[in-house]
């Protein structure tokens, strides 16, 4: 059953493909018998990637059913870890590091610039659903500051010009969070 999320868009049916279900089984096999709950974080990542970049309650319930654990066990974990989005996000999620070393190297200015350029604040999504902004803590790129994570990869030594290019390129229809874009 398709479910409507709060953005009014329809989330595709909540079921992993055969290929992803195989991956789920492979992940579960990494742990001893009866310890399948250990697979929770890897599978939540898989689910978030598969189902529009965030974890809705039906998605979390689905993950619980795959692991044969109670839905509450999934909720308490999903709410603890900051990488899991509990609200819909735009197609391209830009996660800026705001911690000390980045802050000392113009992170605040770059975040400010991007907010103004996209007309949204950190924590918000553009009306066309293309971009969301998030501020996160140190991502282990302090020597290459300021920086942001977009999809699977890091974008480092950010400048205003680089942000312009990122927004132009990654705002296109074909954006794929698993690709590395040379900017």
């Amino acid at each position: 059953m398709p479910t409507a999320n709060t953005m009014g868009t329809v989330q595709s049916e909540i079921k992993f493909s055969e290929e992803k279900l195989k991956k789920v089984q492979e992940i579960i096999s990494r742990y001893p018998e009866g310890r399948q709950k250990s697979a929770l974080l890897p599978i939540l990542h898989l689910a978030q990637r598969e189902f529009d970049g965030w974890l809705s309650v039906p998605v979390m319930d689905y993950v619980a059913s795959l692991l044969n654990i109670k839905p509450i066990e999934v909720y308490e974990v999903a709410t603890f870890y900051t990488m899991f989005n509990l609200k819909p996000v735009g197609k391209c999620l830009i996660e800026f590091c705001r911690t000390g070393p980045c802050m000392h190297n113009r992170a605040d200015q770059i975040i400010d610039y991007t907010e103004k350029k996209l007309g949204i604040k950190v924590g918000e999504t553009t009306p066309d659903n293309k971009f969301s902004l998030k501020a996160v803590e140190c991502l282990g790129a302090c020597g290459y500051a300021p920086m942001a994570q977009i999809g699977k990869f890091y974008y480092e030594h950010l400048t205003e010009e680089k942000m312009d290019k990122i927004i132009t390129r990654l705002g296109q229809e074909d954006f794929n969070p698993d690709n590395k874009y040379e900017i």
């Binding site: 308490e76 603890f80 500051a145």
Partner: protein, 452 residues
Amino acid sequence: MARKLLLENINVPGIKSFDVYRANGGYRSVEKALKTMSPDDVMEEVKKSGLRGRGGAGFPTGMKWSFLDRKSDKPRYLVCNADESEPGTFKDRFLMEYIPHILIEGLIVSSYSLGSNSTYIYIRGEYRWIVDILENAIAEAKHNGFLGKNILGSGYDLEIYVQPGGGAYICGEETALIESLEGKRGNPRMKPPFPAISGLYNCPTVVNNVETLATVVPIINMGGDEYAKIGVGRSTGTKLISACGHMNKPGVYEIELGLPVDEFLNSDEYCGGIRAGHTLKAVVPGGSSVPILPAELFYKTKEGVARLMSYESLSEGGFASGSMLGSGGFIAMDETTCIVRNLWNFTRFYHHESCGQCSPCREGTGWMEKVLHRLEHGHGSMSDIDLLVDIAKKIEGNTICPLGDAAAWPVASHIRHFREEFEYHVKFPEKVAHSPFAHSADYKRELNTVLQ
């Protein structure tokens, strides 16, 4: 050129791949250990090497391994801590990204010594592309007979799995990491029992840092005694330092422990000095949790002895005038840095990352963040400064895990060494309210002018 043990072959083209890594002497330590040494022999070499944990606490690795309960009939586990989330620290990432096989090699030898047949690499979830790199390296090693069943005909079986975290600094703490690996919230456990007795799935477990485990490779290759000759005193061997902040050449460097701090920061072989036209104001030498040092106390101890990059030298003077080598996250700040803002930022980090189990940490970090926010934005009062010191004291030592201390130490040290700058924020609120950094360079001069 200084001796390199971990990054020796980092510039060899294709070193990421098994074939090139192997052709450059890779996996020799596995052959040596599995064919000629017993698990205890391996541990003896690690003990002799004097290797100390590279994750932050500097606990002797061989001793940690010796605590592992080998008598119980439960499985034993080795877990590699690749959570790397301490602000300023990005060395494990460098190693895993550019020379992943050295970690896999170190894991095989260490797992053999500890008797682990399933070893997990718990990596921070944000390092998504590194998960692929590691899984690829594991598959290559397995394909070449260094993982799986009956490795090199020794009868020893091992699988290595990569487990992503979910974005939580606290999961770097070893018992929180174990909870997280069991699919739970990252709440640190009460100790005892220590993981060596009851860790993952209540089985005996050793948790070690990425760099620690990679270092087992050169230790086995050269022998523990040889390794112990490198370095200075009880700081043996080499250490990866990730350097960031206002320097000319930020990046990851492998140093021999005992290198003078002046040479590390100012020579072209390493950081290349503070950026042109600026001067050093302060250094946080071992990740955000360790005490900050003003430039004078960074270069020389209070007694005037030139400091070295070693566990002992950096902590000379204790908390009053020293710091710690910590994780090797080296942050240099020049005179444009606002110390109050730096502390506010760090404190916000700890508040955000507190798991919330103990009230002194959960509430205390929040209060400190609030007070620092008002000081930084020109709404503070003089009594706020002592209030901060007081809250920090009440957190320290009163919590389940060391995150509480890690949040308290920066507060105490920033205020101890830069009290005038905090007072300046109270006396001249209009100057700090709208320009978070502009005043930092000359607050002392301004302060003096006004006071006269």
